[in-house]
Assembly symmetry: C2
Homo-oligomer: 333 residues x 2
């Protein structure tokens, strides 16, 4: 893809607009990753934080602060906070449970062991907490502590909801609001709060982040069944093999006949899968238009995100945020 076209993406336009701030965020992240006593810490985090992540969440905080006319420096702290929380949850996600090892699936993080992933994640959580305390804003601390609890709750809920065919779309929404949207909405909300924006604007920013996060996660769950492995950066069917009941599966399971129900019980509830099962699952998703319906749900949330921005003043950043909502669902083929 030519670079000129690439630079038209809302994400890249935003990165260019916020380049100086992003530079400051990266410098702060590098400083705070360091540990005098435990040199293994930056070793573990560098591979995640420096691995060319898109910095989407911290960029949302910077964008929200700019959009609300903020002229201070604490949005840098908050953007780094958000990235540290995100990185910590990634590290903890990589922890393998024993049933996972028994299935013999390779893990997301083969470079370090469970011990390092858990403890370095804890270190990043603590560091993120220090970064936000420095802002001196109790409102910000309140928002981010609530978001942290919601994230953890969503992850635990996912543990129990996974592999359980009684899981409903309502539970799925609770899970993705927790594990994904809570950090998106906190990221945009604190940007507005630190800028001292009026309540209606802060609320609009929250709603935008919430809807954007939901759209983002639904697309992610959809691409697991129909994406291009090179583009999505993971293997096709990972969620299916991990027996995660994501939205496409829920839609197909809800309409399953007796024979199909037996298929889902074997592959998802009992976890007895063969190499052909992913293809069979994809065929069932197509049969019930589950992928089309899931794509429609994602587009619906993207539209809600765009609409949420209405109360906010005209601003170059506002246009980029609107376009970002569209772009998130453009990843669907």
């Amino acid at each position: 893809m030519p670079n000129t076209e690439n630079s038209q993406k809302p994400h890249d336009r935003m990165a260019a607009y916020l380049a100086a701030d992003l530079e400051a965020v990266n410098a702060l992240i590098r400083t705070r990753m360091a540990s005098e006593h435990a040199p293994r810490i930056p070793e573990v985090t560098a591979h995640l934080v420096e691995a060319g992540g898109k910095r989407l969440r911290p960029m949302l905080t910077l964008a929200a602060a700019h959009l609300c006319g903020y002229e201070g420096r604490f949005h840098i702290n908050l953007a780094a906070t958000v990235e540290f929380i995100h990185t910590a949850t990634l590290l903890h996600d990589d922890v393998v449970d024993e049933s996972g090892q028994r299935r013999g699936r390779p893990t997301a993080n083969l470079l370090w062991d469970n011990k390092s992933s858990v403890l370095v994640g804890d270190y990043l959580f603590s560091r993120s907490f220090q970064l936000m305390v420095e802002t001196g804003s109790l409102q910000v601390l309140d928002i981010l502590s609530n978001a942290s609890a919601t994230i953890a709750e969503g992850e635990v809920l996912q543990l129990t909801a996974s592999q359980d065919l009684r899981t409903t779309e309502e539970i799925y929404m609770q899970v993705i609001r927790g594990k994904t949207a809570a950090l998106f909405s906190a990221a945009t909300e604190v940007g507005g709060v630190i800028a001292g924006a009026p309540d209606a604007h802060v609320r609009a920013l929250f709603d935008y982040g919430d809807a954007l996060g939901i759209a983002f996660q639904i697309v992610d769950d959809l691409l697991d069944f129909q994406g291009d492995p090179n583009a999505i950066g993971k293997n096709l069917g990972d969620d299916f093999r991990e027996r995660k009941l994501t939205l496409p599966l829920l839609k197909a399971v809800a309409q399953a006949d007796a024979e199909e129900r037996a298929f889902w019980e074997r592959t998802i509830e009992k976890g007895k899968q063969t190499d052909d099962d992913l293809e069979a699952a994809q065929a069932l998703l197509r049969k019930y238009d589950a992928l089309t319906d899931t794509a429609a749900a994602a587009r619906d949330w993207a539209a809600k995100a765009r609409a949420a921005l209405a109360p906010l003043p005209a601003h170059a950043i506002k246009d980029m945020l609107e376009d970002l909502a569209d772009y998130v669902v453009e990843r669907i083929n």
Copy 2:
């Protein structure tokens, strides 16, 4: 042991003195453990929080607040905060250590899986964070966020220092200051801070908690080699089998001859242990008076803890804290 003698222990006297507060802390803990969306959370935490832990750390916060004449209610929040942080670190420890027993009961990760231990630990961290934000004290938030980072750093340092015979007593001190003393000192310090105590008193409380925590951990490390398994609530030699270079081992390793060095290299560095090795290790500890020297170090820190309280006003609680310092080292046979 007759109940009358039991009630003479400083820990029990303190619990009796603070009974109403402890009741309030327990009630708050139960409320905040609950999760509307993820019922597995109280299931996992109840096992630890309700398992008859001694509530030593929250009691330190309550005691410090009382000693400084506090009459508000936020010391209840802070005591619950401290217990949640402690419980979260236990949950995460159980993942990383692969230990089979905690407080004489099977660890959470044997009843549940590693992933639940990690995520429920994260939930408790977030909850503790919410509890302290409610106090509205940025100074308290600063202290506890720094303590959290120090705890995580100590745990990571322990990972790298374990199994490495080059570990020094200085590194050992950094590890136990992090993994144990940091929460003790934060617990006493925030009790003083929330009471608005003068700096000299807050400093005294910090020093007391720091020294008490160090004494406590050294005793713990000692009892692993000479304790009564029923009394210490874990198996004798757990640290040795986990190849943790605690103070008794460090003292024996430092004086080892060539043959003994080879023994430590095999059992600790390479982790090749047979059933007889614990007894052989204990014999080497006796040969070099490593247990006696370790006990002396613990008593020294207990004396420092007692002395640290000097600047604080006379108070029934002060006497109990002094006696508690002595009691911690009385656990040594």
